[in-house]
Point group: none
């Protein structure tokens, strides 16, 4: 999993901490701000996404977003709204391909939305190894001859991890750590299956490179 920088803007201290800690556990790098002014002070083009509470003490979250856009900052924004009603109004507004989430919500859902937004915005890093490239926007593997092979999210994370350091052995548990959420219990066989599917997709895409097994150690993309 690649590491992204997320700014959380929320006035409630407790909630802000919960969000920050939760997103960190989901492998994000997290900055925080307590109000609109602080957000605009913190924000720059190194932020990959913003989680933005609509009801801020000093200003409306949407104004903050507009100020961002005016400053030429185009990263995705996930709005947090105080339950119901508002959401319908927001869906029409949806400025800049953003997303919204009504309180209360699950951390896992927020993390998923942030990821989805990053993907849509093309903020994921493209990995490329010798003509073979991994397109993070479309979640597709593109070969030199233009063939496109769709990948599932988990397949994508696994292959990205393998291609990040071509030729190097990646240990099994390192693969698990990079493709599954922190602390997930993953059956050995599950990983086997994914490698099997990845190898088949690579073969079907007519790719001469492949994943070799280093028995007792891990796998290597060659």
């Amino acid at each position: 999993m690649t590491i992204h920088r997320v700014l959380v803007v929320e006035d409630d201290h407790g909630l802000r901490d919960v969000l920050a800690r939760g997103l960190r556990e989901e492998q994000f790098e997290v900055l925080t701000a307590a109000d609109g002014a602080g957000a605009l002070r913190t924000i720059d083009d190194q932020i990959d996404a913003v989680v933005l509470d609509i009801g801020l003490p000093d200003s409306d979250g949407r104004d903050v977003c507009q100020a961002m856009r005016a400053a030429g900052l185009d990263m995705p924004v996930i709005f947090l709204t105080a339950r119901d009603g508002l959401t319908s109004r927001l869906s029409g507004f949806s400025a800049g391909g953003d997303d919204y989430l009504a309180k209360p919500f699950h951390l896992a859902e927020l993390a998923a939305r942030v990821r989805a937004a990053l993907r849509r915005a093309g903020r994921e890093a493209t990995t490329e190894v010798d003509g073979l490239l991994l397109d993070p926007v479309a979640h597709v593997l593109k070969t030199a001859d233009g063939t496109q092979m769709p990948l599932t999210p988990t397949e994508f994370r696994l292959l990205a991890s393998l291609m990040a350091a071509p030729g190097a052995v990646v240990r099994r548990h390192a693969l698990v750590r990079s493709a599954w959420p922190e602390g997930a219990q993953v059956n050995d066989n599950t990983l086997d299956q994914y490698l099997r599917r990845l190898r088949r997709k690579l073969r079907e895409a007519g790719c001469e490179r492949g994943i070799s097994t280093i028995r007792g150690v891990g796998y290597r993309f060659t």
Copy 2:
């Protein structure tokens, strides 16, 4: 294969933990610091490499690097820069750093870069004897003519132990201690078998050097 000591300097707590844990799993000994001041307090000539965030709260990572150099510390530095900033790329190099890595990145890639930097700096994460090198990243034996010979984990540990001190005699029980877990009961003949297999693999790889027997004492890599 000696263990290397890496200092990770990163202000974000979550990211720092992820990096530290990941590098430890890759067999590094990891120290951490949260800012430039802490880094300069921690650092000494026992550190083999530094992973240094450019954007630190109290100072620029490049200044930290320059301060290091001024103090006569010449270990390699891998800069972490916020997404593809070309400027930080260049100035990172002019500050005497060895490599850079743009966020977001994969752990496997960071580990590979740290190893590469150590190798370039002559701190040798890989064992090399006269064109024959044992590559722990790819987990293979590479000969001068480019042949790659895969090794099993135990073979790898044994050969590493022999190549660590070329020309010196390594006693049998010393070999056992370095290639098997502490307190393992190893049949004499088992070691014989491994030497046999190693010699054959060396021969098959077209290597003129070999392992000679010192009867009653041990073995020597010449």
